[in-house]
């Protein structure tokens, strides 16, 4: 019941914001060239998706984002497992990682462009680099912070390093890793869009910035709404995956 009322409340808030947006634009409080009404934004969005090339652009952005995310996730989990399982690797690499981590991915874009040119794989590499951290760090922690008692259990049973990584390390890291992968996907979306804006590669990012430059405000806001929808859908989908992967976290007496 309370769950139901919470959900109803969230719908109400969303609708009120849309209503406010509509009011602000129809009363002429804000010029449509800066902020078009939601109805015209959505109508334009629908037109773009069905008749224009907006759908293709969205797909190319999502592809880039998902490729980058896959790279970041796989790289983060593999690298994190190796570093997390070896104390020596942790000692050797931690200072470097601490130095690289705070670098905003957008600052690396000019470096990437200078070194590799405007190649699509360059952008992919930058996306993966920028989005690897939310996966890498919890993976390192999850693989290294295994209860010493469980380590003894593994030792007593003569469990080898690979089986230990898969049966102890991975599940121990999994809750944090899946949470990290959610953050990573958001980071991927941001870096993808910024990357597209800077490198002018085909996608929603470049479309939005072109629309902004030519004062096509309905296209601009359409693109933003689309990005928001992509982000929200990603998050919801990953939430489901996370729950499916870690059933023991819901198990309470």
């Amino acid at each position: 019941m309370s769950n139901w009322s919470l959900r109803a409340g969230s719908v109400l808030v969303t609708l009120s914001i849309l209503l406010l947006w509509q009011l602000v634009t129809t009363t002429g409080l804000v010029q449509p060239i800066f902020l078009p009404s939601p109805s015209s934004t959505f109508a334009n969005l629908l037109r773009g998706l069905t008749r224009g090339d907006l759908l293709a652009l969205t797909i190319s952005t999502m592809e880039r984002m998902i490729h980058g995310w896959t790279l970041a996730s796989l790289g983060g989990i593999l690298l994190g497992a190796l570093i997390g399982l070896s104390q020596r690797a942790r000692y050797w690499l931690t200072p470097t990682l601490e130095l690289l981590r705070p670098l905003p991915a957008s600052t690396l874009l000019p470096v990437g462009i200078a070194l590799f040119g405007l190649h699509p794989n360059m952008l992919l590499g930058i996306i993966a680099f920028g989005a690897i951290w939310p996966v890498l760090l919890p993976t390192i922690h999850g693989f290294s912070a295994i209860d010493p008692r469980l380590r003894e259990v593994a030792k007593n049973l003569g469990i080898g390093p690979l089986a230990f990584a898969l049966k102890f390390g991975l599940p121990n890291a999994l809750p944090d890793v899946t949470a990290g992968m959610r953050l990573s996907l958001t980071a991927c979306l941001i870096i993808t869009v910024v990357g597209e804006m800077i490198t002018a590669q085909q996608g929603l990012g470049s479309t939005i910035i072109m629309a902004a430059r030519s004062f096509r405000s309905t296209d601009l806001y359409g693109g933003i709404v689309l990005l928001g929808a992509v982000g929200a859908a990603n998050n919801a989908l990953l939430g489901l995956v996370e729950r499916a992967l870690t059933p023991w976290r819901r198990a309470r007496a």
């Binding site: 209860d147 049973l157 003569g158």
Partner: protein, 267 residues
Amino acid sequence: MNKTSSRLAPAAEACAQPAIAFDGVRLDFGGKCVVDGLSFTVAPGEFACVVGPSGCGKTTLLRLVTGLLSPTRGEVRRLGVTVDGPSRDVAIVFQDYGRALLPWRTAAGNIALALEAMGVPRLARAERVAALLDKVGLAGHGDKYPAQLSGGMQQRVQIARCLAQGPRVLLMDEPFGALDALTRQALQDEIARLVRDSGATVLFVTHDLDEAIYLGDRVFALQANPGRLAEVIDVGLPRPRDQLRTREHPEFLRLRHVLFDHVQKTH
């Protein structure tokens, strides 16, 4: 003794060997002597209990048997072979069952871990796990996660996982310390029965002198600073033991006095 045994065939010699032998064992932790001059043997199939004040080295003693720790001086042997690391022949039930189970595996999955480690094929595992769950009285709870089980049930899972190893030596570190009296008595009888069926040698650490006499064939009383053997008591009580009759047995009461007096003196 050694001369006669060395003339026996190798198999017979292994039988004649004590299951566990400590030979002048000393262990230092960062320059501090934790146990010293430990020498004793435990016969195959014997149920030996270890009592002593907190910090006297009971857990350390078990770790020396598993090979998780190596002695600074002296030698620990299992079945005549010097211990140089963990072996699946030796199972240990940890005191903190909450930390010794994999939270991401169900009760059945935790038991299966031991079978996986021993290379039991997947198909044979399910049946073995079901039999073990049944043995420790957890039939029907196999698909629950540790967080869904009571303390007593979690400890049963840990015991089942150790039994799955088919160990020749079973080490138990205050396994029932955190359980209520009734659960504790039930598990005492279960463990006595399971051990008798398996023929394993047991080293059982406890804080509870009554428990030590109730379960043991012998009781080793340790003394602290440094940890050393103070007294060994033979328990001649008939088996199978019974929670009421054994505890009222005159011999039980006599041993209880001996042990209590001893602990009072050395404390």
